[in-house]
Amino acid sequence: MNPLPSVVVALVAIAALLFAPGVLEGQETTAPRQMRHFWHVFAAYAIAWVLLFGWAVSIARRIGRLERRVGGGEGT
């Protein structure tokens, strides 16, 4: 199974949340600008780690599936 479609779907979902009209504009009036900086830094790092972790998990799942197929992991 190609893991990219699931990554793309996850990305589109994150982008939809991030770019939803009014969400961030609303924060701008209520929260101090400094908090908004923190929020952006947190979001950038979180997205990066979700993507990397997602890639690692997709590879691990493929390895597990292959090992079950070959009955315990023979040589490649």
């Binding site: 190609n2 893991p3 990219l4 990554v7 793309v8 990305l11 994150i14 982008a15 991030l18 770019f19 961030l24 400094q34 908004r36 900086h37 923190f38 952006h40 830094v41 979001a43 950038a44 790092y45 997205i47 990066a48 993507l51 990397l52 890639w55 690692a56 590879i59 691990a60 493929r62 390895i63 292959l66 090992e67 197929r69 070959v70 992991g73 023979e74 040589g75 490649t76």
Partner: protein, 228 residues
């Protein structure tokens, strides 16, 4: 090369990568000075730039493996190219998401059709096409060859992305690390960037190795070399 060997290699690289990652997160959040004009949000730089470099490295590997695959026809080179292309997509996606989060506060907009941003988005779409082309033909061998051509053509975009801020009027700042006259960055910031670059390069090669091992094993099962 056995899957066990691949796993050990990936584990060693992965552990080293995670250790460097912990170090660079400590540097980013507790050690490096805050940039005077942009403030806290500039700390996105420490993932944005290394992700771009690792993405370019990955697509460079795709191009080299694809070119040699077209020449020699060795299937394992195609499998290495696919593994690198997946990593390149992940790291370029990090660039394309961290950039707008930074730009919204630094430039006042999420996105602008600036040459560097546009070319980076084009790079992402070219390698998305790389995967689509592979599965678009009934003959897998033909799909692999088409994809190899896309993989080579896509990498030609990388020097354009690097030089776009020099050649064209751009909102994106010019290179501050990879410059002919040397990096123009506070030494602590430079150290943090290189730690992050080292961490993500190690993590990339760790996952690349695992993904390549999976590809090899899948191919050998399909060819009947290993009975399923």
């Amino acid at each position: 090369m056995s899957l066990a060997t691949v796993r050990w290699g990936a584990l060693v690289l992965g552990v080293a990568g995670v250790a460097l990652t912990l170090l660079f997160h400590w540097q980013v959040f507790f050690w490096v000075p805050t940039e005077a004009s942009m403030g806290i949000v500039q700390r996105i730089f420490y993932i944005h730039l290394p992700a771009a470099w690792v993405g370019f490295l990955a697509f460079g590997i795709v191009a080299i493996c694809s070119a040699v695959y077209l020449w020699l026809g060795e299937e394992k080179l195609d499998q290495a190219a696919v593994a690198a292309a997946e990593g390149g997509m992940i790291f370029t996606t990090i660039v394309l998401t961290s950039g707008p989060l930074w730009a919204r506060l630094a430039w006042g907009t999420w996105w602008t059709w600036d040459p560097r941003l546009t070319l980076t988005l084009l790079l992402w779409f070219i390698y998305l096409g790389y995967f689509l082309v592979r599965s678009s033909t009934e003959n897998p061998e033909r799909g692999r060859r088409f994809a190899a051509v896309v993989g080579i053509v896509g990498a030609l975009n990388i020097p354009l992305i690097h030089m776009s801020v020099v050649w064209f009027r751009s909102l994106h700042p010019p290179p501050i690390v990879a410059r002919q006259d040397g990096p123009q960055l506070h030494p602590d910031m430079l150290t943090t960037v290189f730690t992050a670059l080292g961490a993500w390069t190690l993590i990339f090669f760790s996952l690349f190795l695992l993904r390549y091992g999976v590809g090899r094993l899948e191919a050998r099962i399909e060819q009947g070399v290993i009975p399923s």
